[in-house]
């Protein structure tokens, strides 16, 4: 058997703090690597970030490729793409995973394009399987099945990269589970000297303003989410009131975000965050597949909707058919009278 390359994860960090999505991908990467009998390796870029390396071992990386250079801090896409492409060409990884973050989504396509590799965005599951390309009469063994919802609704597509390795995908934060770290795990550090020329450093950062996210949906045990059925920005107050009463966070559907009623940080779903709280209350949300992709694994789901046929009811444990403006105040009242 010809030896195949390893599973690689691009590690995103900001000020030396590793993004959750990268650790989630390390855990998923380890599953895939175990299945294929290969290693899990991390690509870590930045400056003065060696402190991240131990953490990556603990989450399951066998190797960390570390490139430190002041031209790699803060993140800009051209030097990052160059360093990764050089590494990919040298080591030929079989699989390369990126978080579907703003950085990942501008970096991964640049790398894929140069490498003429396929790239699938926003996967909700990754598996290993064989692939029979009937059109071209070719069969492939142990390929990465890149699974994502497609085209607005009722469909899940399984996509395969049939060209050159690596097989590249992006995955949203929260989609893959993060396992607990094991501080006894050790790994190997490989330091990289980035070969950057003037060409990759033409973009100059004049100003950079950043704050940590205002909401931590993933970390919240109770989420009250509002959709287009809430009706207005003003009426979203109801959602906040219920969340506050129950001690939860506020989530939203994309339709509510697009309407400008609430910030994108609150969006749950395929292109937002994936959450698994103890309780998810969906208010005026129809339950499109993209929304369900982000919340269907919640332990308990309450759906409030005035349409008895709304698809959200099919994933709900409790269905309340009716007017949300009427039901939410009742719920707040009921809760306040019990505690």
């Amino acid at each position: 058997m010809s030896k195949i390359g390893n599973v690689w994860v691009f590690i995103e960090q900001e000020g030396g703090k590793i993004a959750d999505v990268s650790l989630e991908l390390v855990c998923k990467g380890r599953d895939l690597a175990n299945r294929l009998g290969i290693k899990t390796e991390a690509v870590l870029l930045g400056n003065k970030i060696e402190g991240c390396v131990e953490t990556l071992y603990h989450y399951g990386c066998d190797t960390v490729y570390l490139a430190e250079d002041d031209r790699l801090e803060p993140f800009t896409v051209l030097p990052y793409a160059k360093v990764i492409i050089d590494l990919v060409k040298e080591h030929k990884p079989n699989i390369l995973l990126f978080g579907a973050t703003m950085k990942g989504r501008e970096l991964a396509p640049r790398v894929a394009s140069e490498k003429l590799a396929g790239l699938t965005a926003d996967c909700t599951d990754l598996q290993i399987d064989d692939f029979e390309d009937k059109v071209n009469q070719k069969s492939y063994k142990d390929k990465l099945m890149q699974i994502r919802p497609a085209f607005g609704g009722n469909i899940i597509a399984t996509i395969v990269n049939t060209w050159d390795d690596p097989q590249m995908v992006t995955v949203r934060e929260g989609v893959m589970k993060m396992d607990s770290p094991d501080s006894s795990r050790k790994g190997k550090l490989v330091r990289i000297k980035p070969a950057l020329s003037k060409e990759e450093t033409v973009i100059r950062v004049i100003e950079r303003i950043r704050e940590e996210k205002s909401v931590d949906l993933k970390g919240s045990q109770i989420i009250v989410a509002g959709g287009y059925g809430v009706g207005s920005k003003n009426n979203f107050k109801l959602i906040y009131q219920l969340a506050e009463a129950l001690g939860g966070e506020v989530g939203a559907s994309r339709a509510a975000v697009d309407a400008g009623w609430i910030d994108h940080d609150h969006q749950v779903g395929q292109t937002g965050v994936t959450v698994r709280p103890k309780l998810y209350i969906a208010c005026g949300i129809s339950g499109s597949i993209q929304h369900r992709a982000g919340m269907a694994e919640s332990k308990k789901i309450i759906a409030i909707n005035n349409d008895p046929d709304a698809p959200i009811f099919s994933v709900a444990h409790y269905s309340i058919t009716g007017e949300l403006n009427d039901i939410i105040p009742k719920m707040i009242k009921a809760y306040k009278s019990k505690v």
Binding site: M102, S113, T120, G153, I156, I327, Y335
Partner: protein, 298 residues
């Protein structure tokens, strides 16, 4: 006119209205079955280009790859203020993934020739991948600024733009030519009434031929003359095939796409055991009680 700005746009199926019937067995979308619209963030890219045209003077060329009726988005763009339209259309482009698409668009940009900026919407609503912009930049070896909200300065050889990053923004300085992907941060202007009157008559060659099919033109020269006429009045939409754009046929469409669809599954909702709660005070009170007892609510 000092600058040339290319804006790449896409006609997309209105994804709010897709049903299973809209998918072909090979996993591609049957676009004919869906209403087609101007991809929203591409309108933001066009708006940014038109603002730059007003501020600095520029020729705005709008390009799209798609079936013949994608000329509609080009007419739309002309009505809003664009100067020229290019339709890249060829049967061989069908079934393209983002890599094959960005390759085809790179050929289109090269044929357009000299440009200072290429603008794309961040992403199209039919796939939400946001990949074509960065891939096109790489194909043309251009620096890219993604998620642009606003252009602060443009001068020969240099652009300063503000762009969104996670939890904030950055102001970046970048040499031109460069590629920018644009997010929903401006208010796209509507079509101008005066321009609609004029540009609703803009046509591609195929449309011109079709238009005259009924008029029973027999000699080809008359058509050529019509075409010249349209060109003079700036109503001619360029229509390029893969060959016209010097595209390598192996690198476009399904053939040029490394990603293959293995299978498409209809989503069967796993019926969760659902308890119907009456929307009454009593019903809701009982529910809240149940959730407190089982420690879901604390």
């Amino acid at each position: 006119m000092s600058y040339t700005i290319i804006v790449f746009v896409k006609q997309v199926p209105d994804t709010q209205n897709i049903t299973g019937q809209a998918m072909k067995p090979d996993g591609t979308v049957n676009r004919a079955a869906l209403p087609a619209i101007f991809n929203p963030e591409d309108l933001n890219a066009l708006e940014l280009a038109l603002e730059l045209k007003e501020r600095f003077g520029a020729k705005v060329v709008v390009g799209t790859m798609g079936p013949p009726n994608a000329a509609e988005v080009l007419r739309d763009a002309l009505c809003r203020g664009a100067d020229e339209g290019v339709l890249l259309t060829d049967r061989s482009f069908a079934g393209a993934d983002t890599l094959a698409t960005s390759y085809a668009l790179s050929c289109c940009a090269k044929k357009i020739g000299k440009y200072d900026l290429i603008l794309c919407g961040r992403q199209a609503i039919d796939g939400d991948t946001a990949q074509v912009g960065p891939q096109l930049a790489e194909k043309l070896k251009l620096p890219q600024i993604s998620y642009v909200e606003e252009v602060k300065e443009l001068s020969k050889g240099k652009i300063i733009a503000k762009r969104a990053i996670e939890g904030g923004y950055e102001v970046l300085e970048c040499p031109t030519p460069a590629l920018l992907t644009v997010i929903d941060a401006n208010e796209p202007r509507p079509k101008a009434v005066r321009r609609i009157m004029k540009y609703k008559k803009a046509m591609t060659r195929s449309e011109l031929v079709k238009f005259h099919a009924n008029a029973n033109y027999t000699d080809a020269e008359a058509l050529v003359e019509e075409e010249e006429n349209l060109k003079k009045r700036n109503l001619f939409i360029h229509e390029w095939s893969a060959t016209d754009a010097s595209a390598d046929i192996e690198r476009v469409g399904l053939k040029g796409s490394p990603t293959k669809v293995k299978k498409i599954e209809n989503v069967v909702l796993t019926a969760t055991e659902t308890k119907a709660i009456p929307p009454t005070e009593q019903g809701i009170s009982n529910l809240v009680h149940e959730l407190i007892v089982d420690h879901t609510l604390g």
